[in-house]
Amino acid sequence: MLFSGGKDSCVMLHLARKAFFPARPPFPLLHVDTGWKFAELYRLRDELAAEAGMELIVHRNPEAEARGINPFDHGATLHTELWKTEGLKQALDAGRFDVAFGGARRDEEMSRAKERVFSVRSPGQGWDPKRQRPELWQLYNAQLAPGESLRVFPLSDWTERDVWAYVAGERLKVASLYFAAERPTSIHDGALLIVDDDRASLAVTTRRVRVRTVGCWPLTGAIESEAVTIDEVVAEMVRAGTSERAGRLIDKDQTASMERKKRQGYF
C-alpha cells in the first residue's frame, strides 16, 4: 500500500487496519521518497507505520539521487518523472508486487474520473485507457495476464469532503500543515510555497497559510487561510470553488499532464 503520511494515506491505512482487524494487514507500506517532502510528513509517516505494526519500505530512486535531481535546478517535470514515476516503477518491480493500493480519487482530476477501481497496468507499469476492464456492481476482476499488475484505488468514489468527514468521524491524526498557522513562506515562480528547509535560499516572509494537499514542499501551493478546524477547512473548500489539485504544481506543466503521467506509470 502506497503510503506518504498525507490525509488520503491516513484514511487508507485506517481502512486497511479495520478490514483485517484483529490481524494486521497482510502487506507492507511503501513510500516513494523524493527527499523533498515536508519534515512533518516524514515524522508522521514513521509514527503511523510503527503504530500499525506494519513494515514500511522507503524507496529513493538511486539514479535521481546520484544526479542530484531537484525541483529548483531541474524543474517540476523532470523531478516528478525521475523521483516519483520512475521511483515507483523501480520499487514495484523490486518487490515484484502484483497489486499496489493507492489513495487516488476520481473527483481529483478529469482523467481520473474514468479510472477504474482495479486499474490494469501493462508490463512496464503503463496505463492504457483503452485496455481497462468494465467494472460492474462491486465485482472486481483481479486476474492478471503475464507481466501485468494492478493499481487498486479503494477511495475512487470518495470526494475531498468524504475524506475530511472520515478524518473527523474517526478522529484520525493528520498533519498540522492542513490547518492554518504562521509559517515561513516564499513566492517562487508565481506559487506560494511553505519553505520547509534552507536548501533553496529563498527570501522568506511569514504568512498565515495552510495546504489542501501535500507533495514535495517546493511543488505544493499553499493558501492564505484562517481555517484551524476541520469544519472551517471544509467550509473554506466549498467557498473556494477550485479543485483540490489546483495547488499541485506538477499537474500544470502540460495539458492532459495527469493522463500522460499515468500512461508512463504514475499513480
Partner: protein
C-alpha cells in the same frame, strides 16, 4: 440527509445530455473554477481523456460527484454511440435511478426505448423522464403530454412507470434546479428536487447473506465480508453454502469493538461457535439457504471484441466465488433496435442474449431479481484476463439439482496404485502434419515396453467415433477438445498414462484441459514444425486441398494456431528425428 443517490443519464449528445449534465453540476456549484477555464461549453466537462478530446470520441464511463444541502449524488455518464451498451450496462449496474432524456422536437425514439430497456434489464426500477429542448416546441404543454403518454405506453410494456416526467430546457436551466417561468402550466418537481426525493436502492428482502471475502486467523478463525442482505446477531443459526454445513454465530468483530448486530452494507468479521470448514467464496446465510447449482439460465451482455465461443471455458466471478464456467449456445439475442428475440449462435461485442451456463462446481447465488450483489456475475477470459461479459442469473436449471456426484469406493489413487504408476496426460499439440501422431506413437511404444499402462487418443481416430458429429469451426474445435479432455481425464481416473495427439490450436482449451487434471500431471508437448515445413511434407495432402479452397477452417491456412507460451516440452522437428524426439520426451518424464 437522505442517503447517497447513484443515477445515470440515458440519451445521446443530440438530446442535449452533456448540456444537461453540465447544467446540473454548475447549478449545484460542483464545477470548480479552475476546471471551467478554457471550456467552450458545459458538454466538454465530461470528456476527460486526451485521447477522447483529440479524436472527438468518448470511450468510457465517467463518474461525476456533486451534491445539494439535502443529498449527495454520483452520476454515471455513459456517452458514445459505439460502445453504448457496454458502457450503459456498466453505469446502470450500480445506479438507483435512470434519467431518460428525450428531445421534445423528436419525441420518444428507438434509441430511447433501447436505453430504457437496458437500464431495466440491469435492475433499475426508478425512471425520471426529462423532456428537453422545450424551447424548440414553444414550451407547449400538449407536446409535452404527448411524449409523456407515449413513453408511459412503452414503459408499461416493459413493466415500469416513470416516477416523474419533467419538461426542461437544459441550455437555460428551466426546471433543472429552478422552476421555469416559461412553463407556468407545469407544477413541478424540478429535475433536481425529483433526484433529491428519489429512493435509494431498496434494501433486499432476503434474509441474512454474506459472501466470505477472507478468513482472518488471529487466535480463532474469523470470517470477514460485507453483509449483502438482512442482518445477523450473536446466537443466530447460519448455513454455510454451498456445503450446507450449519453453525452458530458467536461474535461480530470490528476494530471499534464487538457488535450486537450487523446489517446490510456493514463490513464485519464473524466468529462462529464451532470449528467448521469455511473459506473465501462461501456464502453465510440465515433462515433460508441461498440457491446452490452448477447450471443456470442468465442474461449476458457481451463486452469483448472477441465474440462468445460457446463451450469455451471462462472464469465466472459472482460475489467472492471464482469458478471455471462454460456458456452454452445462446437461446436468443435481443435485436439492437426493437429488442425482439433473434436466433443466435454466438454473442458479439455489445450484444445481449440469454443462455445456459454450466459451472465446474456448484455455486451459491440468488436470482438477480432478488439481489444484484448475489445474482450478477462477470466472465473473465482465462488467457488475456480481460472481463469479457457481465451476466444476470434468472434461475437454476432443474437437472442441475437432480444430478449428484456418486461417491465411489475404489478411487483413482487406488486404481493407479494397483498399476504401480502415476497417471499423466501427455498432450501433444502442433500444426497438422507436424509429427504429433508419429512421435506420440513412438513414446507410447517405449512406455509400453517399460511395463507402463498407457492409452493414445489420436485426434483423427476420435473424430471417426466420439466426435463424428463435429466439424472444424472455432466452436466445434472447442467442443472437440472439451470431449477429448474429459475422455482423457476418465482414463487417468482409471489409472492410465494417457497420450493425446490433437492440433488443439487454442490456448484457452489447452488451459482448460490442464485445469481438469491434478496439478503437474498435464504435460504440454509442443511439436514445433514451421508452417512451411509442415506444408512441404503434407503427408495427408490436406494443405494442398486447403490452399485450393476445398477445405475451410484449416489450421495455419485460414484458421489460427496459438503457440504455447510455456510448453513443458518443446520438440523442434527441424532439429531432431521422431526417434530422438521420443527418447527426449521419455527421458523427461518421471514415469
Amino acid at each position: 440527509m437522505k442517503p447517497l443517490l447513484r443515477f445515470l443519464t440515458c440519451g445521446s449528445v443530440d438530446d442535449g445530455k452533456s448540456t444537461l449534465i453540465g447544467r446540473l453540476l454548475h447549478d449545484c456549484g460542483a464545477v470548480a473554477s479552475d476546471r471551467l477555464e478554457g471550456l467552450a461549453d458545459f458538454s466538454l466537462l465530461a470528456d476527460g481523456l486526451e485521447a477522447e478530446r483529440e479524436q472527438g470520441i468518448t470511450i468510457d464511463v465517467a463518474y461525476l460527484y456533486f451534491g445539494t444541502d439535502g443529498r449527495r449524488f454520483i452520476l454515471a455518464d455513459t456517452p458514445g454511440h459505439e460502445q453504448y451498451t457496454r458502457n450503459m450496462a456498466t453505469g446502470a449496474s450500480t445506479a438507483d435511478l435512470a434519467v431518460v432524456l428525450v428531445d421534445a422536437s423528436k419525441g420518444v425514439l428507438t434509441q430511447t426505448r433501447r436505453h430504457s430497456a437496458i437500464a431495466h434489464l440491469l435492475g433499475i426500477r426508478q425512471f425520471v423522464l426529462a423532456v428537453n429542448k422545450m424551447d424548440l416546441v414553444g414550451f407547449e404543454r400538449v407536446r409535452f403530454e404527448e411524449i409523456r403518454d407515449d413513453f408511459a405506453r412503452f414503459a408499461g410494456e416493459i413493466g415500469f412507470q416513470a416516477a416523474a416526467t419533467i419538461p426542461v430546457c437544459a441550455l437555460d436551466g428551466d426546471n433543472v434546479a429552478e422552476m421555469s417561468s416559461r412553463m407556468s402550466w407545469y407544477e413541478g418537481p424540478t429535475l433536481l428536487s425529483a433526484l433529491e426525493e428519489a429512493d435509494s436502492e431498496a434494501a433486499s428482502s432476503l434474509p441474512f447473506r454474506m459472501a466470505v471475502q477472507t478468513v482472518i486467523r488471529d487466535g480463532g478463525r474469523l470470517y470477514a465480508g460485507m453483509v449483502a442482505a438482512g442482518s445477523v446477531r450473536p446466537g443466530d443459526r447460519i448455513v454455510i453454502a454451498p456445503a450446507g454445513t450449519e453453525a452458530e454465530v458467536a461474535r461480530i468483530v470490528t476494530m471499534d469493538g464487538d457488535l450486537a448486530e450487523a446489517v446490510a452494507g456493514q463490513s464485519v468479521a464473524l466468529g462462529l461457535a464451532s470449528e467448521i470448514d469455511c473459506s473465501r467464496g462461501d456464502m453465510l446465510a440465515g433462515e433460508t439457504a441461498p440457491q446452490v447449482a452448477d447450471q443456470f439460465e442468465a442474461s449476458i451482455v457481451w463486452m469483448s471484441e472477441e465474440p462468445l465461443l460457446p463451450g469455451r471455458q471462462y472464469l465466472l466471478k459472482l460475489g467472492t466465488q471464482t469458478v471455471p464456467a462454460t456458456v452454452q449456445e445462446p437461446k436468443y439475442k435481443l435485436g439492437i433496435d426493437t429488442m425482439e428475440q433473434l436466433a443466435a449462435k454466438t454473442l458479439a461485442l455489445n450484444e445481449i442474449g440469454v443462455a445456459n451456463i454450466w459451472t465446474a462446481r456448484p455455486i451459491a447465488f440468488e436470482p438477480y431479481e432478488a439481489s444484484r450483489a448475489l445474482g450478477g456475475f462477470i466472465l473473465i477470459d482465462r488467457i488475456t484476463a480481460a472481463t469479457v461479459a457481465a451476466g444476470m442469473i434468472h434461475f437454476a436449471l432443474r437437472r442441475s439439482e437432480n444430478v449428484h456426484e456418486q461417491a465411489l469406493d475404489v478411487t483413482p489413487a487406488l486404481r493407479a496404485g494397483l498399476k504401480r504408476q502415476r497417471p499423466k496426460l501427455l498432450w501433444f499439440t502442433g500444426l497438422s502434419g507436424a509429427g504429433k501422431s508419429t512421435i506420440a506413437n513412438l513414446v507410447e511404444a517405449k512406455l509400453h515396453a517399460r511395463g507402463r499402462h498407457t492409452f493414445l487418443l489420436d485426434g483423427d481416430n476420435v473424430r471417426l467415433g466420439l466426435n463424428k458429429d463435429l466439424g472444424f469451426t472455432a466452436a466445434d474445435r472447442v467442443e472437440n477438445i472439451r470431449r477429448a479432455g474429459e475422455a482423457a481425464k476418465l482414463m487417468m481416473d482409471a489409472g492410465l498414462i494417457v497420450l493425446t495427439a490433437f492440433i488443439s490450436p487454442f490456448r484457452a482449451e489447452r488451459a482448460m484441459v490442464r485445469s481438469l487434471v491434478p496439478e503437474g500431471d498435464f504435460i504440454e508437448i509442443f511439436v514445433d514444425t514451421p508452417l512451411a515445413e509442415a506444408e512441404r511434407r503434407d503427408t495427408k495432402g490436406l494443405y494442398r486441398k486447403a490452399r485450393a479452397g476445398q477445405l475451410a477452417n484449416f489450421t495455419g491456412v485460414d484458421s489460427p494456431y496459438e503457440e504455447p507460451e510455456a510448453a513443458d516440452i518443446r520438440i523442434d522437428t527441424t532439429m531432431m528425428d521422431p526417434e530422438a524426439a521420443a527418447n527426449l520426451i521419455v527421458s523427461k518424464l518421471d514415469v
